[in-house]
Symmetry: C2
Subunit: 435 residues, 2 copies
Amino acid sequence: MLRSYRAAALSAAFVIVAHAAAAQSPAPPQSAAASDPKTNGVMQGFPPAPDKLVRFGDGSSSRFPGTRWSFNHIRELVPTAGVWRGEGVPSKLPRALRDLDGIAITTLDGKQITFADVPALTYADGLLVMHKGAIVYEKYFGEGAAHRPHLAFSVTKSFVGTLAATLVAKGKLDPASPVTRYVPELASSAYGDATVRQVMDMTIGVKYSENYSDPKAEVFDYARAGGMLPQPPGYAGPKTSFEFLVKLEKEGAHDDAFAYKTSNAEVLAGIVKRASGQSMADLLSTEIWQKLGAEEDAYFMVDSIGTESGGGGLATTLRDLARFGEMIRNNGRFNGQQIVPEEAVADIRKSGDPAKFAKAGYPLLKGWAYRNMWWMTNNANGAFVARGIYGQAIYVDPKAEMVVVRYASHPQAANGVNDPVTLPTYEALAKTLGQ
Amino acid sequence: MLRSYRAAALSAAFVIVAHAAAAQSPAPPQSAAASDPKTNGVMQGFPPAPDKLVRFGDGSSSRFPGTRWSFNHIRELVPTAGVWRGEGVPSKLPRALRDLDGIAITTLDGKQITFADVPALTYADGLLVMHKGAIVYEKYFGEGAAHRPHLAFSVTKSFVGTLAATLVAKGKLDPASPVTRYVPELASSAYGDATVRQVMDMTIGVKYSENYSDPKAEVFDYARAGGMLPQPPGYAGPKTSFEFLVKLEKEGAHDDAFAYKTSNAEVLAGIVKRASGQSMADLLSTEIWQKLGAEEDAYFMVDSIGTESGGGGLATTLRDLARFGEMIRNNGRFNGQQIVPEEAVADIRKSGDPAKFAKAGYPLLKGWAYRNMWWMTNNANGAFVARGIYGQAIYVDPKAEMVVVRYASHPQAANGVNDPVTLPTYEALAKTLGQ
């Protein structure tokens, strides 16, 4: 069952890289310690030794173990747009460090571990736990560093969804409107008869496969168009993210089932840009980053014409991710001000339709739903999650007054590979901290 | 005479772009106002209109008027390495604004202008004047913005030279040593029998042409190897900056004459990295940027294996450039601390050999010299300059207690095109402020 779940999750995940060999190989990948880019001297020295290079053009930056370096240094490989933190002093993140290492956890495949085992098992680059507004745990591993932004992958989507919900709450975006009100160029695409709300909740019928064992899967066109994979010589596909989106065809019906497809996040990013009149980088800066008192600028990967990847291209520091999570946990308030409207967070927390979610067939995510590009656990604590492949996450637990943020470079993309360890970890942390 | 000077300066300048057509066209380029990317809507909207695009791959980012946008947004076009500003509060830059617009200036070609004319004549993106440690003038134009780093071009070299002089003062680098002590891989190149001092002062005999009317000029190999121009399909030249450097051949003698060649700055950057054991980005961050209390992170353009361009790839904000200039003016002290050793600045200010400089044949730069990658005017005020093509500069005038910094996107590369306006401007400002 876990096996089939993993396969389903793999095909559903947002995967930007062609590493089918690694994912399907029977040989186990190197451990976190063995693949540590720092101790291995990866990309160190001038110039780095030939066997220590990680490059974009040859695909090594998208293949484990190159990913252990590249996810921490993506701006050194591709063009990026800065998300300015503003001129102010960073907001205070109080520290009340606790020893959590001994917390006992039973993984979903029945192994007994402790919290101390989690970083290595999940190939963590950084792991930070906040409780009642204070940092109780913060550690970095491998190339992870407190001041260096890490690629957030699909956690990016939850930022785009939050910005969309913010525009809705401010009356600048109507979720009941057709997508074409904001992006008329999508009229003859799969999105031609969809509403903004359907895009926000990913209940779109679109022919878009993220199955990377199929070389014809649309995810590869998306990645090449969006600047996440190199465009090979003679490449004749779509050259930009926008060109890719307008050609997507309909498949099935809208509003019927949740179906996790990155194209929806890119379309929503386009809607948000049109509704706000700002680039995604500027909007995130003015609406959230500056108000949060972020410590560091964030940035987005961009395509060849400067379009930020709203599906998976945001990079932030772990502490700034924690600030964002704390703001959401506090219903939009942080740093002494209301940043995201309370109604916007309420609209996330009221959750989506679990019946539609169930149709997506995630056996480990029973009762979950998807709303405004957040994953809603609908558990007793009302926890909800921003999830990105290879181990990126914001876990917000309102009842336990806890936010867990993590960045990682797991050898395998699928959330389903991490979930057996991380989902019970979140619950064990919540139980201990909530006592 | 001015005409032949311009030609000489063009061939000697560090030019990363292939815009011979624009430079040699008989039609005058658009004015600063007509080419303003902001009013023209360049790269605005999602997606930008086809005729408003500036891209790296098609060369438009290297051609005027695309350069008016790209020099302000280079990280959105190519990979870059961040220069971290650290955790501290930015250092204070006091403001004592004055109206300088009426200052009369006679250009070197005999035109009567005022200071108010200078920004448009030089296609300024930003212009800032400091006097006695306070900002007396600060304005931004076009896509220039106070918080957005701008490409500094060869002003970068003066940073590398200052870092080298710093390592010398700290005993970590011996200028009398052969280059091969630090970079043995250069043994069979032009640098095989050169000293570090010769590299620092650019008295190297190397076959390296920056004449961009010659398609075989080494500057194009350099730019393609270093990531400043696209590597076309089938490209068989050097793939990295390092590969390019080790193949450079000797031409003429060392120590005979000043000859402005960007390869020297890249070699010095390599020496500095080997001597310090740090990347250029980390070294600049720890030795200077963090201590300055910079407002914003800076960044370097990097090649495909992460090598920062020490010849022209640094981007900073104008205010942080001013902080650096002020620190140099104050003999290494700024923000309440000695940042660069006093001996290092003294070694810059003692100047190079004007006789060697004269052999380079710059008719407008009579009596000048070159030392530690700074241009020494040797004028009565002891002014010295960091200069970059298209209008980038730090002008330090110790006697007038003045620092002028400017970023620009002039249609033509050569310093010689700007000098007839900017050199008398600096002197007029110094005269007014020094009164």
